[in-house]
Point group: C2
């Protein structure tokens, strides 16, 4: 993977951030930026909440990876997270969920594959591999741009997400435990090698010939091979989430945690009566930011 | 106005509420209902947040009237109001902003007139008067349906809103001071007889022949003729609101308040650097709900 990209990476990413909009909120600002992405081969947008104080000094950063069909806007507009982030002085960073405007045949045919559904992997299949590189975009290119341009401290960064983005947060963290201080997830797709959404996405982006290659993007598999860093994973999921049983497979994550003796390091809270929506996220997002603040402000 | 509607009113409104969706949030529920509206001659939707406890006893209710282009969803999804409403045990009620699906020629031609822009008036012009009756819908029909079907106490009800809905909240309150315990507004169109949005809407719905008739829907005019009930109006507006000078005309409202000796009863807070968006609303919505809670829970 690194071989092909080596030359591009050596050139360093283009650093030009264009400000699209800026809205004051809770004494800070929600700013939308656009930039050229080399990893994805298209223009991309992201939103960042810069809390009060970030005009003077670097602040910790918390990435939120959104779910299927979402853009960079859903979390900022609907989660109600800004108040608590402002209280802690933490910046929030909300990337988009796929390349945009690249026009690959079939990329708009379904809501759970292609546009809005990048699944935070680097595609290996011919048709998708030039543009569908959301793993490298979120782990490498976007941070490299952000830390050079915005007052966010790259040594104090954490990650969380929802659904497909919960899968993204857990896998990015488990693959890069030293890059992120902490991780949490709402309703994550916890075992994508073992559910319909994952089969479709991984089959499409990674191919069906080498299913071993799928495991590097599966939180349950990554937890199974984890050793080293002490974990403190927080997961919330609603008991009325329509996707809980067939798509999220949190029971698999919990089983592996138990079999590895990590049950004290992986907390899955089943929230009675809550569903898969942003109303659910907004109810518990304060808890999650408190969780990350423990590590970001330690 | 009452003559023509008398027969309809005598029949009483059809009380059938159809539940469209239900999402748990902050231990309560956001429920979307659909119903047939006689006032508007179409099917209408609204959202209500029913806090924990409302399954056992009636709770106070707080209407939020949304702005141009909005539906019943914007406030519930973007304002971040649910947490504070849940804390106070107050129900939130978010109606739509115009009749829907009535297909009047020209109703979709602009974003500031027709669909999504009912302006909370009862139209008198031939083309609009059958359907564009958002004043009577919000003041009479919707409450009548809600109080018969949902656990909201009709004796403890207040109202607030944003922009066009801030105009709606102020005028509905000033015209019906005994129906609402308190009022507040974000960035309201405070003097619509004196601004482009108001000229277009009132000219269209009420006609240009009798501009005296416009005054019954103008908060500044209503304040000018107000006597009786002690007021405690709270208004927040951003100093970076692009509409502040030409459309909102809060200076007119303040001038009238002063000339009537009501300056202590009308508080307009100019929030430095904030704009017209829901990010602004979300920053101060907690203050507004606290304001209403004083009266709703007195």
């Amino acid at each position: 993977m690194n071989g092909r990209r080596g030359i591009v990476n050596a050139k360093r990413y283009i650093m030009t951030l264009q400000e699209v909009s800026r809205n004051k909120a809770f004494n800070g600002y929600v700013v939308k930026y656009e930039h050229d992405s080399e990893e994805l081969g298209c223009k991309m947008k992201f939103n960042v909440f810069l809390p009060e104080g970030s005009e003077k000094t670097k602040v910790p950063g918390l990435y939120f990876l959104a779910g299927l069909t979402c853009s960079e806007d859903n979390f900022m507009q609907k989660s109600g997270a800004l108040e608590n982030a402002a209280k802690h002085g933490i910046a929030l960073i909300a990337p988009d969920t796929s390349p945009r405007g690249v026009k690959i045949e079939g990329d708009d045919e379904s809501w759970d594959f292609g546009t809005g559904a990048g699944f935070y992997v680097d595609a290996t299949q011919e048709k998708w591999k030039r543009h569908y590189r959301m793993y490298s975009y979120v782990v490498k290119e976007l941070p490299s741009i952000i830390y050079k341009s915005l007052p966010i401290d790259e040594n104090r960064v954490s990650i969380f997400g929802h659904s497909m983005g919960g899968h993204g947060a857990l896998t990015l963290f488990l693959k890069n435990p030293n890059q992120y201080k902490s991780v949490s997830a709402f309703s994550p797709i916890a075992n994508p090698t073992n559910c319909p959404w994952g089969h479709k996405a991984f089959g499409g982006y990674l191919g069906n010939d080498d299913k071993e290659a799928w495991k590097q993007y599966d939180a349950t598999e990554l937890l199974n091979s984890h050793n080293g860093k002490q974990l403190d994973i927080l997961v919330d999921v609603g008991t009325s989430d329509n996707f809980l049983k067939d798509q999220l497979k949190l029971d698999q994550l919990e089983q592996v945690a138990k079999s590895k003796g990590l049950q004290d390091q992986v907390t899955v809270r089943y929230q009675e009566g809550y569903d898969h929506s942003y109303y659910f996220i907004s109810t518990f997002v304060g808890d999650h930011i408190d969780h990350h603040a423990k590590y970001l402000k330690a």
